[in-house]
Structures are given as C-alpha cells and as structure tokens.
C-alpha cells in the first residue's frame, strides 16, 4: 500500500516517466482550460517549486505522505524515503498547539480546506513555524483521493511580530514612565504654586497689619495719615492678589470682581448720605501681571476723588466705568466735585504722579479733564503685553 504512490508522486527529477500527478484531479481538467498545460507540466512545476509541498493519500492507512517536493525536504531536513509512507504528525512536537491540530483533523475529516500555522520540528529537532494550506483533492466520483498541502516557514514573520510586540511594550513602558515623570513634575509645580501663592497672600496680610498697628500707635496727624494711606494702598494690592489664582486661573484676573470688592472697601469708610459710588465695569480678563499696577491706579484715582473733590461737607457722586475697546482697556473715573482747577494744590501730589507712573508702565495714555462739574480721568491701556 505504501508503495502505491511511490512511482507516481516522485519528484520530477526522479520520477519514472508515464505517470501523472494529476490523475483524477478535477482542477486540471483540460477541457475547462483550452490553453491549459499538460498535467505533467504541473507535476514538474510543483516539484521544482521553492514552496514546500506534499500530497497525502486520503485512502491510505493513516493518511500517508505519497509525494513531497525538494523544497519540503529542505525545510524539514528529512530525506524523501524517511517521509514517504509516514503521517505528517512526525513533524509535530512538544510545543505544537493541540487545539490547532484538532482543528486540522476536523477539517480533514470533513473534507474541507483549511489554513493554519503550527509549530513543527525539523529532523534535528529545531522548531519552525509552519504556515500551511491543506486542500482535499477529489476523484471523478467526488470522493477524496488525496490531500495537497503547501507550506511556508513563518518563523521569521513570527519573530518579527514578537519583536514588534516587544518594541511596542518597551515604547509603552517608556511613555508610561515619562507620563509619570511629567505628572510628578506637574504635582510639584502645583504644590509650589500653592505655597508661593499662600506666602504672598500671608505676607501682604502681615505688611498690612504692621502698617495699621503702627498707625494705631501714631498720634493723629500727617504721619498717621501717611501710614494709613500706605495701608490702604497695600489693601488695594491685597484685593488684587486675593482675586489672582482664587478661581484657579493663574494668568488672569477679572477687573469687575476687583473693582466690586475694592469699591465696597472704599465705600465702607464713607458717609453713604454724602458720597455715592457707581461702578460699571465689564468683566474683562486682565493679564495677571497688570493686576498690581491697575489696582494701585484705581485706588489712587478713586481715593483722591473721595478725599479732595467734595470738601466742606459737599455731597457728590463718583463713577467708575471700565470697558474693552478692541485691544484697549478704557477706564473712566469721574466725579461731580469741585474740579482740579479749584482744588487746593496737593503739596505731595503723590497720588497723581503714582497714577502717571503706572500708566507709563502699562504703556497706556491718560487724559485729565474738567468735567461739568468735577474731574474726569480717562485711561487707555493696551490689554496685550501692556505690562
């Protein structure tokens, strides 16, 4: 029985003439292909192919190999007479996937084509990944006479895949490590920011307390007024700082929030029957760097007005308007008091020079004008890169 295929399926070089590999094979019916090659030509081509191929006898005992090409011998390291008559399982070994083998058996049992990739072993015991397709070959009566299998060594592909997986794992590990590093750095930066923010605010409170304590211990007069004025300026800076970072936005502060809080503080020290303060400030986001100069400026203009515009029990109104015009912040502080011309000259004039200094620092412009009545100050400051 083993000898049945020996003659017919020998490789072209050794095959005895007069037999054909394609006997009974429906795929080579000449009538279907007018220009088809003779069956012998197929046998020659398959035998010389670099793709390892085998044919097994479906009707033989234990499905024995009846034909192999040289490429298959090269791939497995076996001699032809070591393979002919044997079942293909001699290529299997310890690491061969039993489930895949079961799948292959089921397909062969059912007479269906199958493609699979299993670990096989060469004659010397070295493993290789064998990717194969197995097709049943039917005779004219429709029964399965042979199985034909073409193989390819997939070891390199497997190795490349495995290397790729390794590379991916390594990349993921590195990305993970760097992300963790960045997260640590960010947490440190956030903690530092909290700490600095806390210190700045606490120090402002200490400075303000220091000023006020000294003012309390200073007899009424110029020195005490000066101390209290300084404490108020620090208060204005403090209000700006309290606004900074309170909403988590480190880069901006809201001008209307600031003026709201600041003017409430200013109003608390005034007689509500005499002096009214009205503010219309749009919620403009101002760069944090501008917070301190702007708050000082608003402080000087408004305190100057309430202090000097309404002498001798005169009542009046102070308005603060803030709006955005394109990239400019336009701030107007106006009162209906006695006006600049009639007010007694301020010997120190510190407030006004402070305002002009700050406007210069912010690269803005300032216009003082006589209102009807009172004083009107209009300040225009660029909102981008002004500080």
């Amino acid at each position: 029985m083993y000898g049945r295929g020996d003659e017919r399926f020998r490789s072209p070089e050794t095959r005895a003439a007069g037999t054909s590999v394609t006997d009974g094979c429906s795929m080579t019916q000449d009538s279907a292909h007018p220009a088809a090659m003779a069956p012998a030509t197929f046998a020659l081509a398959f035998g010389a192919s670099l793709t390892p191929m085998i044919v097994t006898d479906a009707r033989g005992h234990d499905n024995p190999i009846v034909w192999v090409n040289d490429a298959f011998l090269n791939q497995t390291g076996y001699a032809r007479d070591e393979l002919i008559g044997r079942n293909c399982r001699l290529l299997q070994g310890a690491e061969t996937d039993r489930q895949e083998i079961a799948r292959m058996r089921a397909a062969i049992g059912a007479g269906e084509p199958i493609a699979l990739e299993i670990l096989n072993y060469r004659r010397d015991g070295t493993p290789f990944w064998n990717g194969m397709t197995i097709n049943p070959i039917r005779d004219e009566a429709g029964g399965i006479a042979y199985f034909f299998a073409a193989q390819a060594d997939m070891t390199d592909k497997r190795r490349a895949e495995s290397a790729m997986r390794g590379t991916n794992d390594e990349l993921e590990r590195q990305v993970g490590e760097r992300t963790a590093d960045l997260e640590r750095a960010l947490a440190q930066k956030t903690a530092l920011l909290h700490e600095v923010d806390h210190r700045v605010k606490n120090n402002l409170q200490v400075i303000s307390s220091l000023m006020l304590l000294k003012a309390r211990r200073t007899p009424e007069g110029e020195a005490r007024d000066a101390l209290q004025n300084m404490a108020e300026r620090i208060g204005a800076l403090s209000t700006a700082h309290r606004m900074l970072y309170s909403e988590g936005d480190v880069a901006h502060f809201n001008l209307s929030d600031f003026t709201g809080d600041f003017l409430s503080d200013l109003e608390a020290g005034l007689d509500p029957e005499r002096t009214r303060i009205e503010a219309h400030v749009e919620p403009i986001a101002v760069a944090a760097a501008m917070a301190a100069p702007l708050s000082l400026m608003i402080h000087e203009l408004t305190t100057n007005a309430v202090r000097h515009a309404f002498p001798g029990g005169r009542s009046g109104r102070l308005t603060v308007d803030g709006r955005r015009e394109d990239d400019m912040l336009v701030l107007v502080v106006a009162d209906d008091g006695i006006g600049l011309g009639t007010a007694p000259p301020n010997p120190a004039g510190f407030g006004r020079s402070l305002v002009e200094m700050v406007v210069r620092q912010l690269r803005g412009s300032i216009a003082w004008s006589e209102g009807a009545p009172g004083t009107r100050v209009e300040i225009r400051v660029p909102l981008q890169g002004g500080a």
Binding site: R242, S246, A268
Partner: protein, 150 residues
C-alpha cells in the same frame, strides 16, 4: 478706616487662632474697635483647643497654617464640636479646606480687608441671634452646608 468701623450689633467673645503675631495683634485691635472681646490668642493647635475648651467663645477665627503645621483644620473640627462656638477660617490657604469645612461656618480669604471682618462678624451675630436671612457679606465664603441653611 479703622475709626469708621463702628461697633454694630451685639458684642461677640472671640478666640483668635493665628501664628503670625502681627496679624493676631492687629486683628485684636480691630475686634476691639468693633466692640468685640478677644478671649484669647493661640498660635498652635494644642493651645487653640485648650483655650477654646476653657473659654467656650462665641466665635473662633482660625488660620489653617499654625506654628505646628497645617493643623487649623483639626482645630476647627475640635472647636466646632462645641455648639456654642461658631468657627470661621481666616486663611490664605483656602484650597486646603476639606469639603465639609471641618465643621466651620465659612472662610474669610486672606489678605482680608477690615471691612470684610467687620461685616462678617455682624452677619454672624445676626445668624446667632436668629436672623439668618440677612444678605451674606461679600469677601466671606460660607461653607456649602451653611450657605443652604445658616
């Protein structure tokens, strides 16, 4: 401005918990101007809790960062356990306050103005006297639980 902060409403007995001596001293002066009584000044947690137990103040103004670390939270929790005491944080470190405010009524953010201290204490006195519907002063941030039902 200090002279204008006239006493308003009932006098409160107040414990000041603050590690910066200058801030504590100035705050004491301000409370005095406002007509309140400072029953004690403490700069660390154990002192604060001891003085709190001994005096049962109406109000405790508590900084979070004290001489022995960020212990103001536990001080607030201990002092607020006494129903006679209303705890208010006064801190530049409001982000450290836990979600439940450690039993405190709210927080005055540093740097504060004297006006906010005055209006907050007036508001507190009103709440303690059973007038909880006065408008909450700006600059004072009530704890979420107290904002709903002071």
């Amino acid at each position: 401005m200090t002279a204008d902060a006239a006493p308003s409403g009932p006098s409160l007995r107040i414990l000041v918990v603050e590690d910066e001596a200058l801030i504590a001293l100035e705050l004491e002066c301000l409370l005095d101007d406002l007509g309140h009584v400072t029953v004690g000044v403490a700069c660390n947690s154990s002192e604060a809790i001891a003085v709190g137990r001994a005096t049962a103040p109406d109000v405790a103004l508590v900084d979070i960062h004290l001489v022995d670390g960020p212990t103001g939270i536990e001080v607030a929790r201990a002092l607020a356990a006494d129903p006679r005491t209303t705890v208010v944080f006064m801190t530049a470190n409001a982000k450290r306050i836990p979600d439940d405010f450690a039993g405190a009524f709210g927080v005055i953010a540093k740097p504060y103005s004297e006006r906010v201290v005055a209006s907050t204490l007036a508001y507190l006195a009103g709440c303690r006297a059973g007038r909880p519907h006065a408008p909450c002063p700006d600059g004072f941030h009530p704890a979420p639980a107290c904002a709903a039902a002071p």
